[in-house]
């Protein structure tokens, strides 16, 4: 093994990859949320459809989106490998499970939360992305400013009118919120970035970020289910 693969496959190397891919996904979610909030604009989906069209036809966004798929996959695969190794490190468990005041529920359940998010991502991609990109299933067209484009807005709206789908979205976003409530600050610690001045900041920003992402993404299916727009 070369020193590079050896470093990246070490326990610390794997955590560094988790942290870097996690932080990339954290940035991605900001952009994704900003775009999705346009679903709530009261214009019959015009601004959302135009935004989705622009994103799909921007070469830079295309490259980033392939990177995104790759990073999600890498993050999930390493996460699963770590979890298997961690389980193997304690073959016989305790009769009384560990009590300590400092570790949060989220920190102890990262793999479970991650798997919920993974299932969500698969369902999410099959529902929206596969329809738009692979032409699987029904998708209509609209003309905005003389340009013919996919009517993704209607696809989303129809999906969210189903309580099972919108309910599943909301639950998944709560799982994402918990995952990030630990993951955000944990990523900095994994990278060795622990400092008296900045660690409290990472923790505060991480908590705020996880609330905003969880609430921001969850409110969209709720409001669309109720038929409320602005």
């Amino acid at each position: 093994m070369s020193w590079i693969t050896q470093t990246l496959s070490s326990s610390i190397g794997k955590k560094v990859l988790m942290a870097l891919t996690g932080l990339f996904l954290i940035l991605f979610l900001v952009v994704h949320l900003a775009g999705n909030l346009q679903l709530l604009v009261d214009d019959g989906g015009q601004s959302f459809n135009a935004y989705a069209y622009k994103m799909a036809h921007n070469p830079f966004i295309k490259v980033v989106s392939y990177g995104n798929f790759f990073f999600i996959l890498l993050h999930a695969v390493i996460g699963i490998v770590l979890t298997i190794k961690n389980k193997a490190a304690r073959k016989v468990g305790y009769h009384v499970s560990t009590k300590d005041s400092e570790s949060t529920w989220a920190s102890k359940n990262m793999p479970l939360l991650g798997v919920i998010i993974l299932v969500f991502i698969v369902v999410h991609l099959m529902g929206f992305w596969a329809k738009a990109k692979l032409g699987i299933g029904e998708i209509g067209f609209v003309i905005i400013d003389g340009v013919e484009m996919h009517d993704l807005y209607t696809v989303v709206k129809t999906a969210y009118e189903n309580i099972l789908i919108s309910g599943f979205y909301v639950i998944s976003m709560i799982a994402l919120g918990f995952h990030l409530s630990h993951g955000f600050q944990s990523a900095f610690q994994s990278l060795g970035l622990n400092h008296k001045k900045y660690t409290p900041l990472f923790k505060t920003v991480g908590t705020l970020y996880s609330y905003i992402v969880c609430f921001g993404f969850a409110i969209i299916p709720i409001l669309m289910y109720l038929g409320i727009s602005f």
Partner: protein, 250 residues
Amino acid sequence: MNITLKVWRQNGPKDKGGFETYDVKDVSPDMSFLEMFDVLNIDLEKDGKEGIHFDHDCREGICGMCSMYINGKPHGPKDAVTTCQLHMRSFKDGDTIVVEPWRAAAFPVIKDLMVDRTSFDRIMQAGGYVDVSTGGVPDANEIPIPKVVADEAMDAAQCIGCGACVAACKNASAMLFTSAKVSQLALLPQGQVERKTRVEKMVAQMEEEGFGNCTNTGACSAVCPKEISLEHIARMNREYLSAKVSSTNV
């Protein structure tokens, strides 16, 4: 006070093991947890039974040998104490106390509550030392070390290698132990010669022994009798990454 003890008994590494319950009567609140075990063992031996095996040595919180997982916490309910420094007054009359050995694949049970922690010794042998040429006694102020750095190194050096961090971690990870040892030497001038090789070798040995990875839950530091901070884990990660990038070990 009267106590009901539920203790893990296991005849040897291959034995399946199981819990045994003992009623311990007239326990003095001023006894240490280990003294309570001594009294119980004397009674057991009087009845012709084998006493409970457990590790201990200094009984003053400095050697790190005592290792009991008491009611779901390594070293019991109190913060910043070892089992030998835990007193029965920390419990109530009539309490049931469950005592288990450290549980980790890298700490196999030898007998009852005794576990084999030589995996820690091998991590130390891999790099937890400095090579010094002994000569005349050096002048006390020859090597200036800023107070803050000395304090930080001293905090790390407090680690007694008891393994409570591994016992508490949901992944049975030895990151807190290894990082305390790496930190202590990386901070001081005496540790600079082997600095890069040390962290590379110690981390490699830690993995070799089958300890888990770090999820940053903080359970290790919360139960550590010496309150070793998570900052040392971050420092070890920095040391490791910079060593991997810049050392000449290929």
